[in-house]
């Protein structure tokens, strides 16, 4: 009985914490209340596990007018390259071609192919070569770019690119099974994208 009381006390405390974090944001949840209730019914002696919602940085709501800057999050498994950086424009290599993203872009989910990502801020441009990934553009001018690998263009060695391209072309011609053909094709795609990134 005491534990149920503690469970009941915990939720208002969690709500108070949510209120103390959100200054100009709409009420951001820190826990899914239906889950917590269902959990307390099934396992009353244990605290419910936390969910990613409680560790999430809250995002601003969609503003009524188009903001002047685009906020970009560029994350990789090993590092967060850019976190909430305000830029003017990004150009992402979507599967349908290079796509430019400006503040106020319509909300989109796009898959990326290996290619060059360029971030434009004022007069400076930073270019990265990314292996595939996803980009989410939200209505509040936030863009999340998630890629598996990214390297700045000046760290790519042109000789190795040529060697890799030749190697994979040869593998494709000598491939027997579908799996090998697919792997060789992927290698060719990535290397030719690298090639055009270096030249173009």
């Amino acid at each position: 009985m005491l534990r149920r009381a503690m469970g009941l006390l915990a939720r208002p405390v969690a709500a108070a914490r949510a209120r103390s974090f959100s200054t100009d944001l709409p009420a951001a949840q820190t826990a899914d209340s239906t889950f917590v209730e269902a959990w307390n019914k099934v396992m009353p002696n244990m605290d419910p596990p936390k969910t990613p919602l409680s560790f999430m940085q809250p995002r601003p709501a969609t503003p009524s007018s188009i903001p002047s800057k685009l906020t970009v999050n560029f994350v990789l498994p090993y590092a967060s390259e850019l976190t909430t950086k305000e830029v003017d424009m990004v150009i992402v290599p979507a599967t349908t071609g290079q796509m430019g993203v400006l503040p106020g872009h319509v909300a989109t989910i796009t898959e990326l192919k290996p290619g060059v990502l360029s971030v434009h801020k004022g007069n400076e441009t930073t270019k990265y070569f990314i292996s595939s990934g996803f980009v989410f553009i939200h209505a509040n001018s936030f863009a999340d770019i998630i890629a598996v690998e990214a390297v700045p263009l000046d760290q790519i060695d042109a000789n190795l690119v040529q060697k890799g391209l030749a190697e994979f072309t040869q593998k494709l011609s000598s491939a027997t099974t579908d799996l090998e053909k697919a792997e060789a094709q992927i290698g060719i795609d990535v290397h030719s994208a690298l090639n055009s990134a270096l030249t173009g």
Binding site: S80, F136, F142, I146
Partner: protein, 325 residues
């Protein structure tokens, strides 16, 4: 009687010269009292047993201190990787929200645990939470299966939920954790297990002394569509235009798989961090306990030693006074 006293005297001096008692010590390692009866009613109080215990406790203290140092250095290595990977799952939660209370037919619980032991209670906590989620999602037409990563959870879950286990994966940390390995793992799981919702249970690393059990939910593309159509939390997913690919379904499929591998990567790293942190604190409290035990044993040792000296002195003096008088 005087001869017996003399003989007793002779025997009595020997332990004073060499610390080891010469008569056979019928030492019982369990009994804390060390009095022994020799063949002529001679009494020795043996400190050997206490000394043996002190030696072994000191060794244990050294070993646990060393294990703590090793865990601390491993923690430092994994911690930086973990903190860098924390940005990876945030975009997915920002887009798709977090619905742990979603109502699905087939849930799969992916329990992440360690392979080695001596890491405190984190593995038991993960298993308890997995069992709780199983109970939460059981009902008519609903089923929950387990996918287990790590030896410790396997040992605990195989006892009572053997028929619900789909896949067991061990030896995860033989090579340093990297994204390629985890994505191959995620691929295996996605290929072999059907699911409507995947719930990953792991211990999130908050600090060296605090590990929070967490569950991350990943929905299959069909459920995402269903929730988006029915409104609610995923209602505005429909407002997003989906570019590229032939169909929206294909993109959502790729998205779900990518989300799974990213969230899995972060979860595995966080669990590894928590394991090292828990091992540090377990070994630290163990070496502290060993230190306390050593202090107590030292006191007992000194008391025993002083008591034996006193006894010997008494016997000598009473023997000498018996001779005189």
């Amino acid at each position: 009687m005087a001869m017996a006293a003399l003989r007793r005297e002779g025997r009595r001096f020997a332990p004073l010269i060499s610390p080891r008692p010469i008569t056979a010590v019928r030492s019982s390692p369990i009994a804390p009292s060390h009095e022994d009866e020799g063949p002529i009613g001679v009494r020795y109080i043996s400190t050997q047993v206490v000394r043996n215990r002190m030696k072994s406790v000191k060794n244990i203290q050294k070993i646990t201190k060393a294990m703590k140092m090793v865990a601390a250095s491993k923690l430092r290595a994994v911690q930086s990787k973990t903190e860098n990977s924390r940005g990876l799952w945030q975009p997915f939660t920002a887009l798709l929200g977090d619905l742990p209370s979603v109502d699905v037919k087939k849930s799969v619980v992916v329990t992440i645990s360690s392979d080695k032991g001596l890491c405190g209670g984190i593995n038991s906590t993960s298993v308890k939470i997995s069992k709780g989620i199983h109970k939460l999602n059981s009902g008519p037409e609903k089923e929950t299966k387990y996918v287990i990563l790590g030896e410790k959870a396997k040992a605990q879950l195989i006892r009572d939920s053997k028929k619900d286990i789909e896949l067991i994966i061990t030896d995860l940390q033989k090579n340093p954790l990297n994204y390629t390995q985890v994505s191959v793992l995620a691929d295996e799981i996605l290929k072999n297990v059907e699911f409507d919702a995947l719930r990953i249970v792991f211990n999130k690393f908050q600090s060296v002394v605090s590990f929070v059990p967490t569950v991350s939910t990943i929905l299959s593309p069909e459920i995402v569509e269903r929730e988006a159509e029915s409104g609610g939390k995923l209602g505005d997913l429909d407002n997003y235009e989906v570019e590229g690919g032939e169909t929206k379904g294909e993109i959502l499929q790729n998205l779900a798989e990518f989300q799974f591998s990213c969230v899995m990567f972060n979860a595995v790293l966080e669990n590894a961090c928590s394991e090292q942190g828990a091992r540090m604190s377990a070994m630290d409290s163990s070496s502290r306990n060993a230190g306390d035990m050593l202090d107590r044993l030292t006191l007992t040792y000194n008391r025993t030693r002083q008591a034996s000296i006193t006894t010997e002195l008494i016997e000598i003096i009473s023997g000498a006074s018996a001779l005189e008088g």
